[in-house]
Symmetry: D2
Subunit: 144 residues, 4 copies
């Protein structure tokens, strides 16, 4: 499997809520930040996908909150692609505290591919070249 | 089961993203809006819970996106409590388009109860009065 | 001047920050919510403007924070158009606590009009019909 | 005047809106990100100020939008303290596109100091030690 530098950054003040911890909705945004950085690092920058008329909407997202992040913390997202078949692409995420290496939470997301009109695409048959490029970037063998 | 008026409102412009649809992270916020309105409507306003030193952090959240919402749409959240035992409280949500009554997505959330120091509480033994009040509000029989 | 029902709603939990008050950035979003409701109420719904290929980006925004809003509060935005000449449209806002009628803050925003390619439009010459409609909705005499 | 490394980062996907550009409210959040990084870099980390029971709420904020940022852009905030007297602290900001060095917008913010109960503090008389430390960090001569 490909080794990708994990995404990390400091918690923003405006991400906290009145409980004094990061509001749970923001983790869903962190997953997106990490996902976009991940795709860029494996050679599939989102801007390029969108320039090809490809959109990658979210079908499902979930997150398990173990320990809260606070302002002053720095988080790191380790992630991998758990499924890719040209119709769906799924990711798994683990979110760590950078200072302690403690696992603070984890999640999953499922995605499909559409054109700019939101019509679902089967990359294997409708965008063969891009599909081959993505398989290679991901380290996937499409013939299996 | 108790009949509660569903939560609804218009999509905000700032909730959209460059795909022209509501960004997926905002649905997680909609669930919170609906949850807080729901608790208020069954007689458990969040302000009152917090005034009692009770916090209700999120342990897990998930959402299935079927059809996107756009600016100009109005959404309605129908929800119910799927579990309550004084240690955990789980909710289920369905999100509809108000104009068409179309089901656009659905999700779940799991919560626990803590004091203001984030120590987990067992309401049944540690906050008996509040637990009885919550059971009654929810229409739950704690003796079962 | 036209009398328009002010925009109001409850503060959302996720709008608070670790100071326990509404994060200051959210007031800028409240102004947008109020502005869109205002335009709809005077007969210029944003969806319709966008359907005509018109975008109304923000050129300037400012806000004075007097007293913070907290979760549990309900806010009301009273606003008016302070300038409209077919090239720019400016608004002024006052934000009140609904329960106490206390003025909690106020702001301004400046906008221009563009086509979907972000080219600036002069409505008076380039979109005469829309300009006339807007002048009428706003109660503006374009001949002055 | 002190030379501080400007704050910069990539635009996040979720910061865009249906116009395809960064929603204007997010610039206000960028200013906060930059401000907190700035204070940390001059030796006044926000966590430390808050640990001392000091809060720094926003009294006023404004922003001029010249050219929009899009997803794929990277922004840089150059900023300075325009006023500091122990009662108020004002900042000025310029936001540049990192790739082109183009000035895309600029803004201002005004702040006061309060204790955790939101009572306004005069640092010069009520928190003399901290005031001296801040003056030194900022490069301010309090005797002038």
């Amino acid at each position: 499997m490909i080794e990708i530098k994990p995404y990390e950054r400091d918690v923003f003040y405006y991400e906290t809520d009145k409980m004094g911890i990061v509001h749970h909705s923001n983790y869903i945004r962190w997953l997106e930040e990490a996902r976009i950085a991940f795709l860029e690092r494996i050679g599939l920058p989102f801007e390029q996908l969108e320039a090809l008329g490809l959109m990658v909407p979210v079908l499902h997202v979930e997150f398990d909150y173990r320990l809260p992040f606070k302002f002053g913390d720095r988080f790191r997202v380790e992630m991998s692609i758990s499924k890719f078949n040209g119709v769906k692409m799924n990711f798994e995420y683990k979110v760590y505290d950078v200072d302690t290496d403690e696992l603070r939470g984890g999640g999953k997301s499922e995605h499909c591919f559409t054109d700019t009109q939101m019509n679902i695409l089967r990359l294997g048959t409708q965008r063969k070249e891009l599909y081959a490029q993505m398989c290679e970037a991901i380290g996937w063998d499409p013939t299996k």
